[in-house]
Symmetry: C2
C-alpha cells in the first residue's frame, strides 16, 4: 500500500492506494470518531461493494443512503435525501459519512457532509478510475444546477481517501476510458514525463494491467495532491486542473447530464483547448495531433456533438466559475506539459475553434 | 460610529454600529470586490430599505432576490431561488451578496453565498435587533429541515456587518422584544454587569431610547465577537450561546416554524433551562424568578406551549446539534452570569422541568 499525504495544515489527510484495501477494517475505523456512520452509495455500486464495507463496521451504528446512478441525479433534491436519512436516524454532528462510489457520489456525499449540521466528518472510497485520480482528492464537493455544472457546493476536505485498484475490475470499459481522460490531463498540464509514459503504456492500462494502473493512480494523485496543497480554494495554480473543463461542462450541460460521462466531455474539451492553443501559436499541428491520438487510443470521443453549435457553446461557457464579469476565461497549453492560468480568450479565436474544430 | 472587529485570522471582519449607516456608500463599496452585487431581502424589508441600499450601489450591476417573510420559508427550496437568480444573471464567483433583513434572510443569504460556486463574498445588513446582536455576527448560516432547525448549513464569515440602529424604528414591538431575548442571554451566560444594566434600563430599551439601544447592541456584539474569535466552529465556549436554544428549537419546530419568533422561543427555553439549573442546585428560586421577571418585563412569553408535552419535547430535543450519540446535552447556568459547556442532562430532572415548569 502507498500513502500520499495531502498537506493542508490542520485539514491534511492521507490517500491510501493499493490492492485489497476495502477489507482492511483499521483503514476505516482509524478515521471514524463516533459510533454513527452513514454510507452513501448508488444502486450500481451497492450490490458490488456495500457488504464488504459494512463487514468492517461491526460495532458501529451504520445506516445507508442508496441513490440512483448517474450525473443527472447530482442535484440538491438527491442531497436532501441524504439529509432526510441522517435526520430520521437522528445522527449527530459526530457522525461520519462514507462516500462509496464514483465522482457523482463523492461530490454529493461530500457536500452533504459539508452542510449537515454545518459539517460532519467524511471519507471517500472512490470506485471509478476518474474518482480515484481526481474528484475524490482535493475537497471539491457539490451538485449541478440546470443552468450549470457544479454551481452549488463547498470546499470540504475528507478525513481520508481509500483508492483500491481492485474495484476497477468491475468498472466497465467506458468508465475506465473516461477516467483515463483525467489521467492524461496531469501529463498535459504539468508532467511531460508522465504524458510520454502514458503514450507508451496506454494498452497496458486499457488491458487493466494492475501494475500499470497502480502507477497511473499514484502518479495522478501525487500531481493532484501537490496542486491542492499549494492552492486549496483555486485562486491560482489549481485552476489548471480545469484544462478542457469549460468546454466539457458546456458539453455535459448542453447535451443533458448523463449523455456524456464527465471524462468523455473533458476529452473532447481538452482537444478543443488544444486546438485553441494552436491558434494562439503555442502548440503546433503535430502537438495537437499527438494529444488527439492519445485520447483516441483510449477510445474517448474527441469531437464535440453536432447539436451544440458555437452560439450555444458560448452561452453555456458564459456561466463557468472561472469567468470574471462576463469575460470567458480558459486554461490553455503553452506546450505539452505546461498549462496557463485562466486567461481572457480572444473571442474571434474561440469562435474559430468552436466553428471549425471537429466540425464537418 | 463604533467599529468592533471579529478576530478570525484571514477571515476577520468589522461590525459597524451606529446611526444613519445605510446611506454611507463607502461602508458598502469598500467591501465589494467586483461589479456584480445581489441584494437578498424579503417582501417586508424591501419597501422600507431596498432603495436606500441601491442608491449607494450606482455603478454596480445590481440584482435583487426578494423572498417571502418568515421562518417557515427558511428552507433549501427558497435558497434555490437565490441560486436561480444568480445563475440566470450569470453572476461569477467574484460577485458579492448583500443580505438585507432579519435572522432568516441573513442565514439564508449567508448559506447561499457559502454554496454558490463554492463560496462568494457576502455582507450582512441586519434589520432586526435580534440579527444585529446575534445572528448576523459569527458566520453561522443555514436553513431548517422539517425534522430540525438549522440542520443544513455552513460556517461562513461575511466581509462586514452593518448594524444601523435607525432601522429599528420600523421594527414592530414584538420583534424588538424578541431581539431583547438574545441581548439578555449575553448577560446570563457571561456578563453579570450587563444583566444588571438591563434590569435597570429595560424600559428605556422598550421605549426605543437610541442611546440605550446603541449601548445594548454594542455590548452584545462585543460579547459575541469575543466568543466567536475564541471558538469559530463551536467546539467549546461558543456553545454557551445556545443557552435556552435546545428547548427553544423544539418549541419552534414543534409548534410549526413561524408560530413563535426565534427570540420568543429562546425566552421560554431560557426559563426552562433556568428551572433545570435550579433543580441541579445551581440557581436558587430567587435567581429563577429574577430571570423570568426580566423576560416578562420585555413582554416575552416565559412558559412553553401546552400542546408540546414532555414526550414531544424529548423527541424534538433529540435532534439537537449539541447531542452526542443520542444523549441530550444542554447549556445550563451555574449562576447568573456563568454558563456551563454542554452537559449530559440527568433525564429525570429534565422530565421534571418539562412536566412541571409553566404547566398547570
Amino acid at each position: 500500500m502507498k500513502k500520499i499525504q495531502v498537506e493542508l495544515g490542520n485539514r491534511s489527510y492521507p490517500i491510501y492506494i493499493g490492492s485489497n484495501l476495502l477489507s482492511q477494517a483499521d483503514l476505516y475505523t482509524r478515521h471514524i470518531k463516533a459510533k454513527q456512520v452513514v454510507v452513501v452509495t448508488n444502486i450500481t455500486i451497492a450490490p458490488l461493494y456495500l457488504d464488504k464495507i459494512l463487514k468492517n463496521l461491526a460495532g458501529f451504528h451504520v445506516e445507508t443512503a442508496i441513490l440512483p446512478d448517474g450525473e443527472q441525479f447530482k442535484t440538491l433534491e438527491y442531497v436532501e435525501r441524504i439529509f432526510d436519512k441522517l435526520l430520521t436516524c437522528r445522527f449527530s454532528r459526530n457522525a461520519t459519512l462514507i462516500a462509496l462510489g464514483g465522482g457523482v457520489i463523492g461530490d454529493m456525499g461530500g457536500f452533504a457532509a459539508a452542510c449537515y449540521q454545518r459539517g460532519i466528518a467524511f471519507m471517500q472510497i472512490p470506485t471509478t478510475l476518474l474518482a480515484q485520480v481526481d474528484s475524490s482528492v482535493g475537497g471539491k464537493t457539490g451538485v449541478n444546477h440546470p443552468l450549470g455544472k457544479n454551481m452549488i457546493g463547498a470546499f470540504y476536505q475528507p478525513q481520508c481517501v481509500i483508492a483500491d485498484a481492485d474495484v476497477l475490475d468491475t468498472l466497465d470499459d467506458r468508465q475506465l476510458s473516461a477516467g483515463l481522460a483525467e489521467v492524461i490531463k496531469y501529463g498535459l498540464i504539468r508532467d511531460i514525463e508522465f504524458f510520454e509514459w502514458l503514450e507508451n503504456n496506454i494498452s497496458a492500462l486499457l488491458a487493466r494491467d494492475k501494475e500499470a494502473l497502480a502507477f497511473a493512480i499514484e502518479r495522478s494523485c501525487l500531481n493532484k495532491a501537490g496542486i491542492v496543497s499549494e492552492d486549496e480554494t483555486e485562486s491560482g495554480v489549481r485552476s489548471t486542473l480545469n484544462l478542457g473543463h469549460t468546454f466539457g461542462h458546456a458539453i455535459e450541460t448542453g447535451s443533458g447530464y448523463g449523455t456524456y460521462l464527465h471524462g468523455e466531455a473533458v476529452a473532447i474539451g481538452t482537444c478543443q483547448a488544444a486546438d485553441l492553443s494552436r491558434r494562439k501559436g503555442w502548440l503546433n499541428d503535430a502537438d495537437v495531433e499527438r494529444i488527439i491520438a492519445l485520447f483516441q487510443k483510449c477510445n474517448l470521443p474527441t469531437y464535440p456533438p453536432e447539436q451544440i453549435d458555437s452560439d450555444r457553446f458560448l452561452e453555456l461557457m458564459a456561466v463557468d466559475k472561472k469567468n470574471v464579469s462576463g469575460q470567458i476565461r480558459l486554461i490553455l497549453l503553452t506546450k505539452i506539459g505546461v498549462a496557463t492560468l485562466p486567461i481572457d480568450v480572444d473571442r474571434t479565436l474561440l469562435i474559430q475553434t468552436l466553428n471549425t474544430y471537429g466540425r464537418k
